[in-house]
Amino acid sequence: MRRIVVVGASAAGLSAAETLRREGYDGTLTLVGDEPLAPYDRPPLSKQILAAEWEPERLALRTPDALAALGLDLRLGVAATALEPADRTVELADGSALPYDGLVIATGVRPRRLPGEGAHVLRTVDDALTLRERLTPGRRLVVVGAGFLGAEAAAVAWRLGCEVTLLEPAPVPLTHAVGMEVGRVLTNAHLERGVKLRCGVTVTEVTEDGVRLADGAQIEADEVLVAVGSLPNTEWLAGSGLTVGDGVVCDEYCEAAPNVYAAGDVVRWYNPLFGTSMRIEHRTTAAEQGMAAARNLFAAPQARKPFAPVPYFWSDQYDMKIQAYGYLRGHDEVAVVEGDLADSRFVAAYRAGDRVTGALAVGMPPKAIRQWRQAIATGAAWHDSVRTTVPAVES
Protein backbone atom coordinates (compact mmCIF):
# COMPACT_ATOMS: atom_id res chain seq x y z
CA MET A 1 0.00 0.00 0.00
CA ARG A 2 1.60 3.27 -1.13
CA ARG A 3 -1.26 5.76 -1.19
CA ILE A 4 -3.71 6.17 1.67
CA VAL A 5 -6.35 8.88 1.77
CA VAL A 6 -8.17 9.89 4.95
CA VAL A 7 -11.25 12.06 4.44
CA GLY A 8 -12.30 14.16 7.44
CA ALA A 9 -9.61 15.96 9.45
CA SER A 10 -10.93 15.84 12.99
CA ALA A 11 -10.70 13.44 15.94
CA ALA A 12 -11.22 10.21 14.00
CA GLY A 13 -9.32 11.19 10.85
CA LEU A 14 -6.30 12.50 12.74
CA SER A 15 -6.19 9.41 14.91
CA ALA A 16 -6.29 7.20 11.80
CA ALA A 17 -3.46 9.15 10.18
CA GLU A 18 -1.30 9.03 13.31
CA THR A 19 -1.91 5.34 13.76
CA LEU A 20 -0.88 4.56 10.20
CA ARG A 21 2.46 6.26 10.79
CA ARG A 22 2.89 4.51 14.14
CA GLU A 23 2.23 1.17 12.47
CA GLY A 24 5.02 1.91 10.05
CA TYR A 25 3.15 3.02 6.97
CA ASP A 26 5.56 5.30 5.10
CA GLY A 27 3.75 5.91 1.82
CA THR A 28 1.78 8.99 0.78
CA LEU A 29 -0.76 9.91 3.43
CA THR A 30 -3.33 12.48 2.35
CA LEU A 31 -5.62 14.04 4.95
CA VAL A 32 -8.56 15.93 3.47
CA GLY A 33 -10.76 18.23 5.54
CA ASP A 34 -13.36 20.75 4.43
CA GLU A 35 -12.79 23.01 7.44
CA PRO A 36 -9.94 25.47 6.92
CA LEU A 37 -8.42 24.76 10.35
CA ALA A 38 -5.94 22.15 11.45
CA PRO A 39 -7.64 19.35 13.44
CA TYR A 40 -9.27 20.75 16.56
CA ASP A 41 -11.33 19.46 19.42
CA ARG A 42 -15.10 19.87 19.69
CA PRO A 43 -16.13 19.02 23.27
CA PRO A 44 -14.73 22.30 24.67
CA LEU A 45 -16.90 24.26 22.19
CA SER A 46 -19.98 23.90 24.39
CA LYS A 47 -17.91 24.23 27.57
CA GLN A 48 -14.74 26.34 27.91
CA ILE A 49 -15.04 28.11 24.54
CA LEU A 50 -18.67 29.09 24.94
CA ALA A 51 -17.91 30.24 28.49
CA ALA A 52 -15.00 32.32 27.13
CA GLU A 53 -12.61 30.54 29.50
CA TRP A 54 -10.49 29.37 26.59
CA GLU A 55 -9.49 30.98 23.35
CA PRO A 56 -9.71 28.83 20.20
CA GLU A 57 -5.91 28.27 20.06
CA ARG A 58 -6.28 25.78 22.88
CA LEU A 59 -8.48 23.55 20.75
CA ALA A 60 -5.69 22.35 18.47
CA LEU A 61 -5.50 18.57 18.71
CA ARG A 62 -1.79 18.58 17.89
CA THR A 63 0.97 21.16 17.90
CA PRO A 64 2.11 22.33 14.45
CA ASP A 65 5.35 20.39 15.04
CA ALA A 66 3.58 17.15 15.87
CA LEU A 67 1.40 17.57 12.81
CA ALA A 68 4.38 18.30 10.58
CA ALA A 69 6.16 15.21 11.93
CA LEU A 70 3.44 13.03 10.40
CA GLY A 71 4.55 14.01 6.91
CA LEU A 72 1.04 14.48 5.63
CA ASP A 73 -0.21 15.64 2.31
CA LEU A 74 -2.65 17.93 4.12
CA ARG A 75 -5.58 19.30 2.12
CA LEU A 76 -7.56 21.65 4.32
CA GLY A 77 -10.50 23.79 3.28
CA VAL A 78 -11.46 21.44 0.49
CA ALA A 79 -14.31 18.92 0.56
CA ALA A 80 -14.36 15.46 -0.93
CA THR A 81 -17.24 15.40 -3.38
CA ALA A 82 -17.30 11.85 -4.72
CA LEU A 83 -15.88 8.38 -4.27
CA GLU A 84 -15.28 6.01 -7.15
CA PRO A 85 -14.35 2.68 -5.61
CA ALA A 86 -14.05 1.02 -9.01
CA ASP A 87 -11.09 3.20 -10.01
CA ARG A 88 -10.13 3.90 -6.41
CA THR A 89 -10.26 7.65 -6.50
CA VAL A 90 -11.66 10.37 -4.29
CA GLU A 91 -12.75 13.52 -6.06
CA LEU A 92 -12.29 16.89 -4.41
CA ALA A 93 -14.23 20.15 -4.71
CA ASP A 94 -11.22 21.88 -6.28
CA GLY A 95 -11.46 19.51 -9.23
CA SER A 96 -8.53 17.30 -8.30
CA ALA A 97 -8.77 13.54 -7.99
CA LEU A 98 -6.87 11.49 -5.43
CA PRO A 99 -6.07 7.91 -6.36
CA TYR A 100 -5.76 5.60 -3.35
CA ASP A 101 -4.83 2.08 -2.37
CA GLY A 102 -6.55 2.48 0.98
CA LEU A 103 -9.23 4.89 2.22
CA VAL A 104 -10.50 5.94 5.64
CA ILE A 105 -13.81 7.79 5.78
CA ALA A 106 -14.12 10.06 8.82
CA THR A 107 -16.47 12.84 7.76
CA GLY A 108 -18.44 13.01 11.00
CA VAL A 109 -21.85 14.58 11.36
CA ARG A 110 -23.45 17.99 11.08
CA PRO A 111 -26.28 19.51 13.10
CA ARG A 112 -29.85 18.85 12.13
CA ARG A 113 -31.60 22.16 11.51
CA LEU A 114 -35.14 23.48 11.66
CA PRO A 115 -37.07 25.47 9.09
CA GLY A 116 -36.57 29.23 9.34
CA GLU A 117 -33.56 31.51 9.45
CA GLY A 118 -31.29 32.97 12.08
CA ALA A 119 -30.88 30.12 14.56
CA HIS A 120 -27.52 29.04 15.94
CA VAL A 121 -26.14 25.53 15.81
CA LEU A 122 -23.06 24.33 17.68
CA ARG A 123 -20.58 22.13 15.85
CA THR A 124 -17.65 24.25 14.71
CA VAL A 125 -15.36 26.90 16.23
CA ASP A 126 -17.18 29.55 14.24
CA ASP A 127 -20.54 28.37 15.58
CA ALA A 128 -19.25 28.59 19.15
CA LEU A 129 -17.64 32.01 18.74
CA THR A 130 -20.73 33.44 17.05
CA LEU A 131 -22.98 32.19 19.81
CA ARG A 132 -20.72 33.29 22.64
CA GLU A 133 -20.65 36.85 21.33
CA ARG A 134 -24.42 36.94 21.81
CA LEU A 135 -24.61 35.42 25.27
CA THR A 136 -24.52 38.64 27.21
CA PRO A 137 -26.27 39.07 30.58
CA GLY A 138 -30.03 39.38 30.38
CA ARG A 139 -30.35 38.06 26.84
CA ARG A 140 -33.11 35.55 26.26
CA LEU A 141 -31.82 32.31 24.84
CA VAL A 142 -34.12 29.53 23.70
CA VAL A 143 -32.43 26.15 23.34
CA VAL A 144 -34.37 23.73 21.20
CA GLY A 145 -33.57 20.20 22.37
CA ALA A 146 -32.56 19.30 25.92
CA GLY A 147 -30.07 16.56 25.04
CA PHE A 148 -26.48 16.64 26.26
CA LEU A 149 -25.43 19.39 23.86
CA GLY A 150 -28.45 21.60 24.60
CA ALA A 151 -28.05 21.05 28.33
CA GLU A 152 -24.36 22.00 28.30
CA ALA A 153 -25.04 25.16 26.33
CA ALA A 154 -27.94 26.06 28.63
CA ALA A 155 -25.69 25.63 31.66
CA VAL A 156 -23.03 27.93 30.24
CA ALA A 157 -25.56 30.53 29.13
CA TRP A 158 -27.13 30.52 32.58
CA ARG A 159 -23.72 31.09 34.14
CA LEU A 160 -23.17 34.02 31.78
CA GLY A 161 -26.37 35.59 33.07
CA CYS A 162 -28.71 34.80 30.19
CA GLU A 163 -32.37 34.05 30.62
CA VAL A 164 -32.50 30.49 29.34
CA THR A 165 -35.44 28.38 28.21
CA LEU A 166 -35.04 24.75 27.13
CA LEU A 167 -37.66 23.25 24.85
CA GLU A 168 -37.95 19.50 24.63
CA PRO A 169 -40.41 17.21 22.83
CA ALA A 170 -40.07 14.29 25.28
CA PRO A 171 -41.92 14.33 28.62
CA VAL A 172 -38.55 14.00 30.43
CA PRO A 173 -35.32 15.05 28.67
CA LEU A 174 -32.77 12.36 27.84
CA THR A 175 -35.18 9.52 28.67
CA HIS A 176 -34.26 7.56 25.55
CA ALA A 177 -30.56 7.97 26.33
CA VAL A 178 -30.32 7.46 30.09
CA GLY A 179 -33.77 6.44 31.32
CA MET A 180 -36.44 8.52 33.00
CA GLU A 181 -35.12 8.51 36.58
CA VAL A 182 -31.64 9.65 35.68
CA GLY A 183 -33.11 12.04 33.11
CA ARG A 184 -35.10 13.64 35.92
CA VAL A 185 -32.01 14.15 38.08
CA LEU A 186 -30.15 15.81 35.23
CA THR A 187 -33.19 17.95 34.49
CA ASN A 188 -33.48 19.14 38.08
CA ALA A 189 -30.10 20.81 37.76
CA HIS A 190 -31.69 23.27 35.31
CA LEU A 191 -34.84 23.83 37.31
CA GLU A 192 -32.98 24.46 40.58
CA ARG A 193 -31.18 27.34 38.93
CA GLY A 194 -34.18 28.95 37.37
CA VAL A 195 -33.51 27.77 33.84
CA LYS A 196 -36.93 27.25 32.33
CA LEU A 197 -37.82 23.92 30.81
CA ARG A 198 -40.86 23.12 28.72
CA CYS A 199 -41.33 19.47 27.89
CA GLY A 200 -43.70 17.85 25.46
CA VAL A 201 -43.41 20.74 23.00
CA THR A 202 -42.45 20.49 19.36
CA VAL A 203 -40.80 23.42 17.66
CA THR A 204 -41.81 23.66 14.02
CA GLU A 205 -40.02 26.80 12.93
CA VAL A 206 -37.50 29.43 13.84
CA THR A 207 -39.01 32.90 13.41
CA GLU A 208 -37.66 36.42 13.45
CA ASP A 209 -38.27 36.84 17.15
CA GLY A 210 -38.11 33.34 18.53
CA VAL A 211 -39.64 29.99 17.69
CA ARG A 212 -43.07 28.72 16.74
CA LEU A 213 -44.50 25.59 18.33
CA ALA A 214 -46.63 22.91 16.70
CA ASP A 215 -49.74 24.25 18.47
CA GLY A 216 -49.13 27.65 16.90
CA ALA A 217 -47.82 29.32 20.05
CA GLN A 218 -44.82 31.62 19.73
CA ILE A 219 -41.95 31.74 22.21
CA GLU A 220 -39.93 34.92 22.10
CA ALA A 221 -36.16 34.90 22.21
CA ASP A 222 -33.20 37.07 21.33
CA GLU A 223 -31.16 34.02 20.33
CA VAL A 224 -32.17 30.52 19.37
CA LEU A 225 -29.86 27.52 19.57
CA VAL A 226 -31.05 24.42 17.74
CA ALA A 227 -29.63 21.25 19.32
CA VAL A 228 -31.85 18.52 17.95
CA GLY A 229 -29.33 15.91 16.92
CA SER A 230 -27.18 15.42 13.89
CA LEU A 231 -26.94 13.92 10.43
CA PRO A 232 -24.00 11.85 9.16
CA ASN A 233 -22.00 13.54 6.38
CA THR A 234 -22.45 10.85 3.75
CA GLU A 235 -23.84 12.79 0.77
CA TRP A 236 -20.45 12.72 -0.95
CA LEU A 237 -20.69 8.93 -0.99
CA ALA A 238 -23.83 8.89 -3.13
CA GLY A 239 -23.29 6.66 -6.13
CA SER A 240 -20.19 5.07 -4.61
CA GLY A 241 -21.95 1.78 -4.02
CA LEU A 242 -21.21 1.90 -0.29
CA THR A 243 -24.12 1.08 1.98
CA VAL A 244 -25.32 4.23 3.69
CA GLY A 245 -28.17 4.34 6.20
CA ASP A 246 -27.86 6.56 9.24
CA GLY A 247 -24.12 6.50 8.65
CA VAL A 248 -21.66 4.51 6.58
CA VAL A 249 -22.48 0.89 7.27
CA CYS A 250 -19.45 -1.18 8.25
CA ASP A 251 -18.75 -4.65 9.60
CA GLU A 252 -17.04 -5.37 12.90
CA TYR A 253 -13.66 -4.48 11.37
CA CYS A 254 -14.93 -0.99 10.43
CA GLU A 255 -14.68 -2.05 6.80
CA ALA A 256 -17.20 -0.56 4.37
CA ALA A 257 -15.79 -2.11 1.18
CA PRO A 258 -12.46 -3.73 0.26
CA ASN A 259 -9.69 -1.36 1.44
CA VAL A 260 -12.28 1.22 2.48
CA TYR A 261 -12.70 1.73 6.22
CA ALA A 262 -14.61 4.27 8.25
CA ALA A 263 -14.33 5.76 11.74
CA GLY A 264 -16.00 8.17 14.13
CA ASP A 265 -19.42 9.78 14.28
CA VAL A 266 -20.16 8.94 10.63
CA VAL A 267 -20.04 5.15 11.08
CA ARG A 268 -22.68 2.62 11.85
CA TRP A 269 -20.74 -0.54 12.57
CA TYR A 270 -21.37 -3.88 14.18
CA ASN A 271 -20.02 -3.91 17.75
CA PRO A 272 -19.57 -7.58 18.66
CA LEU A 273 -19.32 -6.78 22.39
CA PHE A 274 -22.98 -5.79 22.38
CA GLY A 275 -24.04 -7.94 19.45
CA THR A 276 -25.62 -5.01 17.67
CA SER A 277 -24.81 -2.33 15.13
CA MET A 278 -24.45 1.17 16.53
CA ARG A 279 -23.49 4.70 15.60
CA ILE A 280 -21.77 6.50 18.46
CA GLU A 281 -21.12 10.23 18.73
CA HIS A 282 -18.48 10.19 21.47
CA ARG A 283 -15.10 11.81 21.41
CA THR A 284 -13.13 8.83 22.74
CA THR A 285 -14.84 6.35 20.44
CA ALA A 286 -13.90 8.52 17.46
CA ALA A 287 -10.21 8.35 18.38
CA GLU A 288 -10.32 4.64 19.20
CA GLN A 289 -12.15 3.83 16.02
CA GLY A 290 -9.71 5.89 13.97
CA MET A 291 -6.97 3.70 15.40
CA ALA A 292 -8.87 0.48 14.80
CA ALA A 293 -9.79 1.38 11.23
CA ALA A 294 -6.21 2.37 10.40
CA ARG A 295 -4.77 -0.81 11.91
CA ASN A 296 -7.21 -3.03 10.07
CA LEU A 297 -6.58 -1.24 6.79
CA PHE A 298 -2.83 -1.66 7.16
CA ALA A 299 -2.84 -5.18 8.65
CA ALA A 300 -2.64 -8.46 6.80
CA PRO A 301 -6.21 -9.78 6.34
CA GLN A 302 -5.80 -12.52 8.97
CA ALA A 303 -4.37 -10.04 11.49
CA ARG A 304 -7.39 -7.75 11.52
CA LYS A 305 -9.24 -7.30 14.81
CA PRO A 306 -12.92 -6.56 15.42
CA PHE A 307 -13.59 -3.14 16.94
CA ALA A 308 -15.46 -3.97 20.14
CA PRO A 309 -15.11 -0.99 22.47
CA VAL A 310 -17.02 -0.02 25.57
CA PRO A 311 -18.26 3.40 24.42
CA TYR A 312 -17.51 6.22 26.86
CA PHE A 313 -18.65 9.80 27.09
CA TRP A 314 -18.64 12.62 29.58
CA SER A 315 -20.64 15.80 29.86
CA ASP A 316 -20.14 18.85 32.08
CA GLN A 317 -23.28 20.64 33.19
CA TYR A 318 -23.26 23.23 35.97
CA ASP A 319 -21.22 21.59 38.75
CA MET A 320 -22.07 18.08 37.55
CA LYS A 321 -19.60 15.82 35.82
CA ILE A 322 -21.52 13.10 34.05
CA GLN A 323 -19.69 10.02 32.81
CA ALA A 324 -21.16 7.04 31.05
CA TYR A 325 -19.82 3.74 29.83
CA GLY A 326 -21.43 1.22 27.55
CA TYR A 327 -24.53 1.24 25.43
CA LEU A 328 -27.41 2.69 27.39
CA ARG A 329 -30.00 2.93 24.65
CA GLY A 330 -32.72 0.33 24.64
CA HIS A 331 -31.97 -0.81 28.21
CA ASP A 332 -34.48 -2.92 30.14
CA GLU A 333 -33.68 -1.74 33.67
CA VAL A 334 -31.75 0.90 35.59
CA ALA A 335 -30.52 0.41 39.17
CA VAL A 336 -28.75 2.89 41.39
CA VAL A 337 -25.78 0.87 42.61
CA GLU A 338 -23.90 3.54 44.54
CA GLY A 339 -24.74 6.91 46.02
CA ASP A 340 -28.12 8.53 45.81
CA LEU A 341 -30.04 10.13 42.95
CA ALA A 342 -31.30 12.80 45.33
CA ASP A 343 -27.75 13.98 46.09
CA SER A 344 -26.77 14.04 42.40
CA ARG A 345 -23.91 11.73 43.35
CA PHE A 346 -24.47 8.21 42.14
CA VAL A 347 -23.63 5.36 39.82
CA ALA A 348 -26.55 3.89 37.89
CA ALA A 349 -26.15 0.52 36.19
CA TYR A 350 -28.07 -0.43 33.05
CA ARG A 351 -29.32 -3.88 32.17
CA ALA A 352 -30.22 -5.25 28.76
CA GLY A 353 -31.28 -8.87 28.76
CA ASP A 354 -29.31 -10.49 31.57
CA ARG A 355 -26.16 -8.44 31.12
CA VAL A 356 -24.71 -5.24 32.48
CA THR A 357 -24.57 -3.08 29.36
CA GLY A 358 -24.10 0.40 30.73
CA ALA A 359 -23.21 2.60 33.69
CA LEU A 360 -23.69 6.29 34.27
CA ALA A 361 -22.07 8.21 37.09
CA VAL A 362 -22.49 11.72 38.39
CA GLY A 363 -19.91 13.18 40.73
CA MET A 364 -18.28 9.86 41.61
CA PRO A 365 -14.55 9.08 41.92
CA PRO A 366 -12.97 7.10 39.09
CA LYS A 367 -12.59 3.94 41.11
CA ALA A 368 -16.33 3.72 41.65
CA ILE A 369 -16.91 3.79 37.90
CA ARG A 370 -14.03 1.67 36.67
CA GLN A 371 -15.38 -1.60 38.05
CA TRP A 372 -18.57 -1.03 36.09
CA ARG A 373 -16.66 -0.45 32.92
CA GLN A 374 -14.99 -3.75 33.61
CA ALA A 375 -18.36 -5.45 34.12
CA ILE A 376 -19.55 -4.13 30.75
CA ALA A 377 -16.31 -5.08 28.98
CA THR A 378 -16.54 -8.65 30.22
CA GLY A 379 -20.26 -8.99 29.60
CA ALA A 380 -20.89 -9.64 33.31
CA ALA A 381 -24.23 -11.09 34.31
CA TRP A 382 -26.56 -8.53 35.86
CA HIS A 383 -27.49 -10.57 38.88
CA ASP A 384 -23.90 -11.25 39.89
CA SER A 385 -22.73 -7.68 39.49
CA VAL A 386 -25.62 -5.84 41.00
CA ARG A 387 -25.97 -8.17 43.98
CA THR A 388 -22.29 -8.20 44.95
CA THR A 389 -21.82 -4.46 44.74
CA VAL A 390 -24.89 -3.32 46.64
CA PRO A 391 -25.16 -5.45 49.74
CA ALA A 392 -26.85 -2.55 51.51
CA VAL A 393 -29.98 -2.94 49.46
CA GLU A 394 -30.48 -6.47 50.74
CA SER A 395 -29.87 -5.91 54.43
Partner: protein, 64 residues
Protein backbone atom coordinates in the same frame (compact mmCIF):
# COMPACT_ATOMS: atom_id res chain seq x y z
CA UNK B 1 11.33 9.81 26.57
CA UNK B 2 9.57 12.29 28.81
CA UNK B 3 5.81 12.36 29.34
CA UNK B 4 4.10 15.74 29.70
CA UNK B 5 0.62 16.12 31.07
CA UNK B 6 -1.49 19.28 30.89
CA UNK B 7 -3.72 18.60 33.85
CA UNK B 8 -5.93 21.64 33.28
CA UNK B 9 -6.98 20.21 29.92
CA UNK B 10 -7.79 16.79 31.40
CA UNK B 11 -11.46 15.78 31.16
CA UNK B 12 -11.11 12.84 33.56
CA UNK B 13 -11.97 10.15 31.06
CA UNK B 14 -9.40 7.76 32.51
CA UNK B 15 -8.44 6.54 29.03
CA UNK B 16 -4.74 7.00 29.82
CA UNK B 17 -5.01 4.74 32.87
CA UNK B 18 -6.61 2.04 30.76
CA UNK B 19 -3.81 2.36 28.22
CA UNK B 20 -0.83 2.60 30.61
CA UNK B 21 -1.71 1.82 34.22
CA UNK B 22 1.81 2.05 35.55
CA UNK B 23 2.38 5.51 34.10
CA UNK B 24 -0.97 7.23 34.80
CA UNK B 25 -3.46 7.33 37.62
CA UNK B 26 -6.42 9.56 38.49
CA UNK B 27 -7.15 11.63 41.57
CA UNK B 28 -10.56 11.57 43.25
CA UNK B 29 -11.96 14.04 40.75
CA UNK B 30 -10.72 11.84 37.96
CA UNK B 31 -7.97 14.22 36.88
CA UNK B 32 -4.98 12.37 35.49
CA UNK B 33 -1.80 12.08 37.52
CA UNK B 34 1.59 11.22 36.13
CA UNK B 35 3.20 8.37 38.05
CA UNK B 36 6.36 8.41 36.00
CA UNK B 37 7.77 11.23 33.92
CA UNK B 38 10.49 9.21 32.27
CA UNK B 39 9.43 6.19 30.28
CA UNK B 40 11.73 3.58 28.86
CA UNK B 41 11.33 1.86 25.52
CA UNK B 42 9.35 -0.99 27.06
CA UNK B 43 6.55 1.40 28.09
CA UNK B 44 6.63 3.53 24.98
CA UNK B 45 3.90 1.74 23.02
CA UNK B 46 1.42 2.00 25.87
CA UNK B 47 2.16 5.66 26.45
CA UNK B 48 1.79 6.38 22.74
CA UNK B 49 -1.57 4.66 22.93
CA UNK B 50 -2.50 6.92 25.86
CA UNK B 51 -1.48 10.00 23.86
CA UNK B 52 -3.63 8.82 20.98
CA UNK B 53 -6.76 7.99 22.97
CA UNK B 54 -6.69 10.99 25.32
CA UNK B 55 -9.88 12.87 24.37
CA UNK B 56 -8.42 16.18 25.51
CA UNK B 57 -5.07 15.97 23.74
CA UNK B 58 -3.57 16.61 27.16
CA UNK B 59 -0.65 14.17 26.98
CA UNK B 60 2.55 14.60 25.02
CA UNK B 61 5.72 12.60 24.58
CA UNK B 62 8.86 14.65 24.16
CA UNK B 63 12.32 13.58 23.09
CA UNK B 64 15.09 14.60 25.39
Amino acid sequence: MKVELEADKCVASGQCVLAAMDVFDQDDDGIAILLEEQVGDDRLDDVKEAVAVCPAAAIRLVEQ
